[in-house]
Symmetry: C2
Subunit: 366 residues, 2 copies
Amino acid sequence: MMKFFMPTKVCSGKGCIVEHAAQLKTLGNKALIITGKKSAKANGSLHDVQAALDSLQIAYCVFDRINSNPSLATARDGARAAKEFGAEFVIGIGGGSAMDAAKAIAVLAFNELDDKTLFSGPYANPVLPIVAVPTTAGTGSEVTQYSILTDDRLETKSSIASEAIFPRIAFLDASYTEKLPVPVTINTAVDALSHAVEGYLSVKATEVSNILAAESMAIIGKCLPLLDKGPLGFAVREQLLYASMLAGMVIAHTGTTALHSMGYSLTYFKDIDHGRANGLLMHEYLEFIACHHADAVEKITGLLGMKNLSELKVCLDRLLKEKETISKQEAQRFSAKALQAKNLLNTIRKPAREDLEKIIAKSFAV
Amino acid sequence: MMKFFMPTKVCSGKGCIVEHAAQLKTLGNKALIITGKKSAKANGSLHDVQAALDSLQIAYCVFDRINSNPSLATARDGARAAKEFGAEFVIGIGGGSAMDAAKAIAVLAFNELDDKTLFSGPYANPVLPIVAVPTTAGTGSEVTQYSILTDDRLETKSSIASEAIFPRIAFLDASYTEKLPVPVTINTAVDALSHAVEGYLSVKATEVSNILAAESMAIIGKCLPLLDKGPLGFAVREQLLYASMLAGMVIAHTGTTALHSMGYSLTYFKDIDHGRANGLLMHEYLEFIACHHADAVEKITGLLGMKNLSELKVCLDRLLKEKETISKQEAQRFSAKALQAKNLLNTIRKPAREDLEKIIAKSFAV
């Protein structure tokens, strides 16, 4: 049994928002723009979205209060803003945080839901149409049915997973990523890489998701060595954004796996950036998988253009630099927490708690 | 600028209709089933669809009057049936003909359109949701926004191309293709091949369409030599259906090219099966392209697992057997007709009328 579903219309290229603006008119006459405090203003994406909306005489209101790892409370604030403004659709501009928040806001605008029901569904009332404008090349949220929010009740990140929150349109313009600081470019690229790698190692992998994952890994493999070698050209930025989108399409089908389960704890408890968290754990995670599925891991390193896992480790160590410190108690606590994550079940080799603890401990030389 | 849009949900695997039946309930409570006189009854597909609808208490009516290369008149009859029954969605079961007719019926059910406006749009009123169940592995219509109808006004086939007619759901169960006669299996596989090949040679090709085309060609290349060697196993049938779907996704983005333009004349005037028509012309078409784009054609033969175009010619000649006879006058007439086709403009090397005539003449040793 195979399923393929990817209803998001993807428009990409420099200037694509203005060029394809007319598509927005089909979604409504009032838009809530959801973004962070600064970056969308600095990188030109907010300006382009506003210009497109102005040209179509679509009224809009900007909700620019999204921080990294957005909370449920922020999403509820945004939903109130959407209701008060009478938004007919939402536009999320930013990294994963803004797009994920936009999705939750789209759900909450017309649905009164407690925290638990927000994550589980079902939603009795309509969900606002969503437009996604990624300004980093990493999360792939522009083409997924997931919204990842910080869930203080469970002390981790929790996901909404619903076909209702697939963005209707994703605009991919790599020029918005040109001024990203080097560590952000690295962390987000590693996030995209983890999506492609984990999709390939998911029990839900399909023929189509594997084609997309393979292409994504091949592109990221070529880009990785360039990321800390001075300014990236526009062509490389476009390739990274494209590979990140492909990896998003992959996890839309496969979900993520134990690597993300562990990464969420590092982010929640240690405030380590999401992509970086996955990157720090990736080598040991793949060693764990390789014990039972050497072929799959060899395929991955081959697609990345690397000889073996050691070469990947050297590359990631160089890019991610000095690691944070984790105590033995933390490794135990994080592995216990990761064991409860739903995405753990997607992993082709199911880890026990001890396996997770070992992966974390080895990754941080605990 | 790149665009990706593939909103059809694809469910595949043996028994997928019954397994995923619940999806149908979201489309409405009354369905018009659109199919041909015989094959859907014989191959089990109609039975499975009826069982699924019965289990959901969805009322249905069967319109089983679709022939090969369906006409506008047939589509109008179907639309009348849809209106009279009060259908809320349509289900096309069959080869390209039934699915293409279902799409036109879905448009015409609520839209009063003359022949010209049916092909050009726009449609003021809603288009009924469409479900597609392919019973051959060739047209890819289950995942395209095209409906190809015989257009006696223009003496050829004409296409509706509208995002409104992307099927909502496609059910791919290869068991319905198991009893196809050998020539039908061959002709439809060659049709799928022509979609993948032409998509690769289209000016509209994108990075994503090329990945899908490459995968489709690699699979079809492995299957081609088996097609006339006795019964195909279920696994091969599944691969053919999958490759045909991929090739459909390709042309949804790239359109078809001059090969289809010429093929339509062979079908309209000589009643040559659609896939076979493309197959008979394919070698000379590729020779024509290769003069200017040798790399692209080499890539294609490489993906097919063949050394060169001659090997493809030998393979196609063996599968398609004795060719029909075409006169010099016919070659002239068909090339003049093909020159007017819209899809001609998609070809990376634009042919003049003389080029088309030469391709047809050489293909049939005129």
